[in-house]
Every structure is written in C-alpha cells, then in structure tokens.
C-alpha cells in the first residue's frame, strides 16, 4: 500500500506491505533514530511526534499516519546546529550509550510544548514511558530542565519558532 505523509517537514510517499508498523516504515526511510527496542510499547525508544504528540511508533501501523505530520529526532537539528534540547541533554551528561536518547528527546518535545517550564515531577511524568538503562535519569532530567530554561531565555519554541502567538 502507498502511504503519504509529511516526515520532518518533507512530503513523503512510501510503498509498504499493509502490515508494516510506523517504526518499520520510518527506519526503512532512513530515520534510524527511531530505535527498535521492545516493539511492544514498553521502552519508548521508538517515540516520534505524530501531529505534535509523542507516540510509540512500534504500536502504530504505517497506514495510520496517512496525511499526517511525523517528526523524528532527525528533524530536531537544523543547519546551524543541534536543537537546544539535544545540546542541553548532551551537556548535562544525559547521553551514555545513546539508544534511548532519540525517544527521550521526542517525549521531551511533547512535554515542553505542553509545559514550557516543567517541575522535576512533571519531567519525570513526561518520561514515564521511556526507559534508560544507563543514566539513572538524573542527568536526563537535568538536561531537559536546562533546555526549558534555554528555550525560555531565547524566546523560542521547540520548533525553533518565536514563542508567543502559539
């Protein structure tokens, strides 16, 4: 079947078997930040944004994104450099093996879009569906808090847009 959707801002079409998951579709298109961890929604390492909300790509069929917007970690950095979230999590020491990082970043984008200045409890709640086996989460939480401060200081949203009008 043919699936047409927008991937990181680019109109994309793909021909896949109808039982393909979104995770398989995205990895097949080269978006290998979408990690195949558990393939049953438990680990969150395949998290992507679907119309702006973080979902586990392993629990969706490819056909479910028809006509919709998908954003992966590949869509975070721009030509100028890393996204503030990527930079902040990296600087805080929130990346060790890195396998969970893309999914965590996408869950964090969903979080900061809803709650630009989250408390530690809100950050932890926002990451409840993402497992990290290396860091113990402390540095990741620090990084997300730093990213929130950085975005607020520069008046930017997670899209790189000027914050304000929504």
């Amino acid at each position: 079947m043919r699936v047409s959707f927008t991937l990181n801002g680019t109109v994309t079409q793909a021909e896949v078997p109808p039982g393909t998951t979104l995770m398989e579709l995205l990895r097949g298109l080269g978006a290998v930040s979408v990690k195949d961890g558990c393939a049953r929604g438990d680990c969150g390492s395949c998290a992507v944004l679907l119309d702006g909300r973080a979902v586990t790509a392993c629990l969706l069929f490819a056909g479910q994104v028809e006509g919709r917007q998908v954003r992966t970690a590949e869509g975070l950095a721009d030509e100028v450099g890393l996204h503030p979230l990527q930079q902040a999590v990296l600087d805080a020491g929130g990346v060790q093996c890195g396998f969970c990082t893309p999914g965590i970043l996408m869950a964090a984008v969903d979080l900061l879009d809803r709650i630009p200045d989250p408390t530690e409890a809100q950050i932890r709640e926002g990451l409840a569906g993402n497992l990290c086996r290396c860091t113990g989460y402390v540095k990741i939480v620090d990084g997300i808090r730093d990213a929130a401060a950085m975005l607020a200081a520069t008046g930017r949203t997670t899209d790189g847009e000027e914050a304000g009008d929504g």
Binding site: P18, G41, T56, F61
Partner: protein, 283 residues
C-alpha cells in the same frame, strides 16, 4: 517484521462502511482504533485492517440530557485535556486517565479500543462506577450499559461512543490504583462513587479490579454504605466487606492475600477522598 498476514488496509469514511467491512470479513477483518493493542495482539486469522481514523468518531459532545458523549476514536490524551471529561465524577475520570500508561501511550490509545479489548484496565472500573453506557453500531445504532456490554458476547460491531450520564447532584467519586512503578499495570485498582441525599447514602458503587480482570462491583461493600450517613465507621465496614469479598487472584507480582488486603485499602482510600469531595461541594 511487518505483520505479513495483513493483505489489506481499509480506510472507510463512515461507520456503516466500517461495519460492513468487518461483518463481511467474517473474522478476517478487524477494526483498528489506536493500534496499541492490535499491533501486538493481532489474531492470526486476521488479513485485513479497517482503520477507523476517517469515520469521524474523534469528538466529545454533550448529550441532550446533560451527559457527555465520548467518540470512540478519542484518545486518552484528548479526554484528559478536555476539562469537562477530566472533571467528570468529581475528578475521578481525570485522576484515572492521568495514570493510564504513559503519555506516549495515552497519545494513541482510544477509548473505543479500550472497552473492546477489556483487559488490564484502569479505565473500566471508573466507567463502571459512573454507570457509563456504550453506543454500538451493528447496522443500526443501540446503547447498552457498559456492564452488559462487557458480559455479553458481541458479534461484529463498531463501538461508536462511550457515554457518561448527566452528573448526579450530591454524588462524588474517586479512583485509586496500586502499581510497582508509575508505568506498570495495576496490582489492584478501584473506584467508588457515592450518591448522598439528605445526609444519607442513597446509592453506592464499589468497583475493584486487578491486572487480569476488568473490575467488578462488590455488592457487600455497596450494601454496607447505603441507607446511612457516610461516616468513617461506614467506610471501615465497606473496606472490610471489600477485603472479604473481592476474590482476587495471586500471581508473580502479588499473592492473592496481598491483593485482598489491597482491595480493602483501595476502597478505604477512595471513600475517604469521596468524603472530602462531598464536603467540598460534590459534583
């Protein structure tokens, strides 16, 4: 590995077309809601998916009688972010939804898919306690109490809505669940609703569930409440009845004895919150 058994993917644009596809598919075609259950548990005989995204069931509306109609394709996030849904049942619905899975899964899982799937549920005890009904389409529209829907054998059907009845003045409800971690299945969960008129309990719902069952009403605990004021003695009696009659099972997560104990604690905590909410002005 893609599910190689799937040969067809349909995207009907109305409920009737979706229903015809599953009915005519004779077990080979299944409806697709959010997919969080189906992707992992697709029965081997299924060769066609009928995606409900385009049939127009993602909404929350008021019913004529003052209740709420939750379109089956509403995600848990849609419902949690809808102020009236979250506040329904003196906040019991919102307090439950905020604890279902993680945000990743609340962003995809639908209320319709949830009632059909009927396992490992935090949602159903709350809906049962609040007397929710289910609207189904089988060539014609029908509405039935959620409890009857869950007990009955359903043939091919589309769940179109979950309905919450008009709020009852003088009623309050609360939800509690016990888990090992935030993002884990409930060891025990429960919801209590108490309707008070002229200082006495006129109706009560005490529903207790566990990881493997959907939750059921405990009539002995409900009987312990009805007809008298909702005092701490009444709460203790209801909790004791729940502990004795919940009939929960043991597994590698918790023994049956521990679950029975938690059933009492669940009811006690729910009812204590209910008392607070009633004093705070009820619904």
């Amino acid at each position: 590995m893609p599910l190689t058994q799937i040969e067809q993917y349909h995207r009907p644009t109305d409920v009737d077309a979706a229903w015809h596809l599953v009915r005519d598919g004779g077990g080979a075609a299944v409806l697709l809601g959010g997919g969080t259950d189906l992707v992992v548990r697709c029965p081997p005989a299924v060769t066609a998916l009928v995606d409900l995204s385009e049939v127009g069931l993602r909404y929350v509306e008021h019913s004529d009688d003052g209740g709420l109609r939750l379109g089956a394709m509403s995600t848990f996030t849609d419902l949690l972010e809808h102020p009236e849904v979250a506040a329904y049942g003196t906040g019991a619905v919102g307090e439950m939804l905020a604890q279902v899975g993680s945000v990743l899964h609340r962003n995809s899982a639908t209320i319709g898919g949830h009632v059909v799937r009927s396992r490992l549920s935090d949602v159903l005890p709350v809906l049962l306690a609040l007397d929710a009904t289910v609207a189904v389409y089988t060539g014609e529209h029908a509405e039935l109490p959620l409890a009857n829907y869950l007990e009955g054998e359903q043939g091919p059907h589309v769940v179109t809505e979950v309905r919450l009845p008009p709020p009852i003045p003088g009623a309050a409800a609360a939800f509690v669940r016990f888990t090992r971690t935030t993002f884990d299945h409930s060891i025990v969960n429960g919801c209590c609703r108490v309707d008070v008129a002229e200082g006495a309990v006129v109706a009560a719902r005490v529903v207790v569930g566990e990881s493997s069952t959907v939750g059921r009403r405990l009539s002995a605990a409900e009987d312990a409440l009805v007809g008298a004021p909702l005092t701490s003695e009444a709460v203790a009696a209801a909790a004791d009845a729940a502990r004795r009659t919940a009939d929960l099972h043991g597994d590698w997560i918790a023994s049956a004895a521990y679950r029975q104990h938690l059933a009492g604690v669940t009811v006690e905590r729910c009812l204590t919150t209910v008392i607070d909410r009633l004093q705070g002005g009820g619904a």
